[in-house]
């Protein structure tokens, strides 16, 4: 059963509260902060009265429980089966892990049971030993806050890595680093070598991405609205209905992805029209002019 209260955030909160109560550290403030951290916006309206009114008999006196041990829960069978499933995934090699206690556990599914049909064909070389080593060292550097020396595109540079980004569509990992006070994105498969240097102590400021936007008009025919909203669901946007069949959507994207955005807009053909900014509209028009020159009959 995937939807069960033992995975629920109310159980999670109460477990955390019991642990604090056993250590004699439970207070009103940390009860609220646990709820704020693990549960929903309005959960305190339900959890606190249920405990105080003894509907849930966990705390017999304020902040005191008759329970005697820190709360811990074994893994469910579903969780073990999920671990078994990822242990069979080809990309698990990236993490260099063993799963010794799952021999008698059945996976929830295998690679034969699904396909990502529109993933690009030139994904990273996950089977390559040196790729795996570079991936693991990158993760280690982030975890232990270490600077790195990388050999990348015929250059050597010293930088601070701060996260790894994966694209399911591209099937590629990219390493985000700060180099000479600027954000840089390195394709992990293009890193020739990586060396961990000293720990850095200063707080690094992660640069917010530089963003642009474009605005689309959608006339809802041939299911255009659903297709556009689904296709651009990965991006930040504002959407509003103008009238019965007309919609306006403002989509924000990272500056470096502009060409990709133009291509994505073109894939919809005449079902959508970019109305601003002029620079984006011009690029669409330029492509259409070039197409017209192709004299497609």
């Amino acid at each position: 059963m995937l939807f069960h209260e033992v995975y629920g955030c109310y159980y999670h909160c109460v477990g955390e509260m019991i642990n604090l109560a056993i250590d004699n550290k439970l207070t009103n403030e940390n009860m609220l902060s646990i709820i704020h951290q693990y549960a929903f916006e309005e959960s305190h309206l339900h959890i606190i009265p249920s405990l105080n009114e003894k509907k849930w008999q966990i705390f017999d006196k304020p902040f005191h429980t008759p329970l005697q041990h820190h709360y811990s829960l074994p893994l469910t069978l579903l969780e073990k089966r999920w671990l078994k499933t990822i242990s069979l995934d080809p990309k698990i090699k990236l993490f260099s892990l063993d799963f010794p206690d799952l021999d008698n556990i059945q996976p929830l599914f295998t690679q034969d049971d699904y396909v990502i049909y529109d993933q690009y064909q030139d994904g990273d070389p996950y089977d390559d030993d040196s790729y795996q080593e570079i991936f693991q060292l990158s993760l280690k550097a982030i975890r232990y806050k270490k600077a790195i020396k990388v050999h990348y595109l015929e250059k050597e540079m010293i930088c601070i890595p701060y996260h790894i980004e994966y694209s399911l569509k591209d099937d590629k990992f990219r390493l985000y680093v700060i180099h000479q006070n600027k954000k840089k994105i390195l394709n992990i498969h293009k890193i020739k070598s990586i060396e961990l240097l000293n720990e850095y102590s200063q707080d690094i400021s992660i640069f917010p991405p530089s963003k642009k936007y474009f605005v689309l008009n959608i006339y809802d025919e041939r299911n255009a609205l659903e297709r556009v909203m689904t296709h651009f669901a990965d991006l930040q946007k504002q959407a509003e209905q103008i009238d019965k069949n007309n919609y306006k959507v403002k989509i924000y994207y990272e500056t470096q992805d502009e060409t990709e955005m133009i291509i994505r807009v073109l894939s919809f053909g005449p079902l959508i029209k970019v109305i601003e900014p002029d620079s984006f509209v011009k690029q669409i028009k330029d492509r259409l002019i070039m197409q017209k020159v192709c004299n497609l009959k």
Binding site: L2, F3, V6, G8, C9, A39, F40, S43, S50, K55, Q57, D60, L67, H69, S72, L73, P74, L77, L78, E79, T85, I86, K91, L94, F95, Q106, L108, F109, D113, V115, Y117, D118, Q119, Y120, Q121, L139, R143, H163, E165, S167, L168, P209, E226, T230, H231, A233, D234, L235, Q236, A239, Q241, G269, V281, K285, L288, I289, M290, Q291, C294, L296
Partner: protein
Amino acid sequence: MAYNELIKHFERIRDYLHEFYIYGFRSRNYIKKKSRRSYDNEKRRLESYLKEYMSFQYTNSKLVFLSIDNRLLPHNPLYKTFQSKSFVDKSITFHFILFDILYDETIQLSLKEIVYKTDEYLSHFQYPIPFDESTIRKKLNEYIKLGLIQMTKINNQNIYQRTASFPIQCYEDALLYFSEVNPLGVIGSYLLNRIEHHDYFRFKHHYISYAIESEIIYYLFSAMQQKRYTMIYNHNPKTQKESYFYIVPLRIYISSQTGRCHLLAYTPRFKTIKTYRIDYIYKVILKETCPLFDVYREKLKDVQNHIWSIQYIPYHLEHVEFTIRIEKNEQYIYQRLMREKRIGTIIKVDDCHYCFQADVYDTNELMPWIRTFICRITKVNFSNRTVENRLKQDIQAMYKLYEIGDDVNVIS
């Protein structure tokens, strides 16, 4: 009934999650099959679940939906909605007592001992919740099914103990990654809730809405693993039509470019493989074992080289061919063609022209991809002339839409 933040069945909020998360601006009037109060409650519930990730604003009396950039998220916020299962007061009380009594995996107790110790705990309360033996037995059986408790027979008596502990902190990095890319990543998020974790990963092109379908996908995978016939119940929100199908689930097709999931399944009634939208399925019931499962799956393997996306139309292969211009200094376009083509072949026509060829079941499915090459398409040749004409008409319509006049040849 008074508003309760938690829900008994996830299906209750699935429709709303689709409507609010994908469209956002659906008003109360649009969601026809629900009552006014139900709409208000579900909107309140989802806003409470997804407080930081979606919002609504009124500007000039129009409802504006705001969503955030998924690329900034280390975790899929929709997973949180799966932590909303309701329960009764007795359940949560007994849960924490039980795992306090069985705090160590070496402790073995009979039902009678568990009942006694439960009463002992509850004696600290002025009005203790009464637990009888049968309620506790029922709960223990439920936990045995969940894998939290194991039962052994010793001297003809059922003895209960917690299942062995399984350290998972060492899997942190793998959990962070797979919980976002695995089709049932929500279970990975349950595991992450159990450990201290950091946020090392981010995800580009991160379509998170497939999470809404997790329960249905779970049952469909179960059907495949057990090679079973399955009954699926569909609701089409556009037509409001309800239908059901007796099928053999064969494979789930997931799009990395929309997040949408489809099921390809053998359908005995039509004696062929058909495609079903998973977001339309609201109930899955596993039936008897299908002895021909491997045969059907082999058939899918045979035909999948002609499926561009998700459509299989038996005995109906169509030829698709289009040529694009690639200048000598534009080898990246050739690379693009090679990495994006899922099937078919690329033929070099001359130094500056390359032709894509494939035989597919549904030419329509290639249209969005072909349109991405607008600015360099020099020739198209489809055996399905209707689709070929539509592509050309679409390009003409785009000229009109962007006011590209007939004088461009002069400009060039």
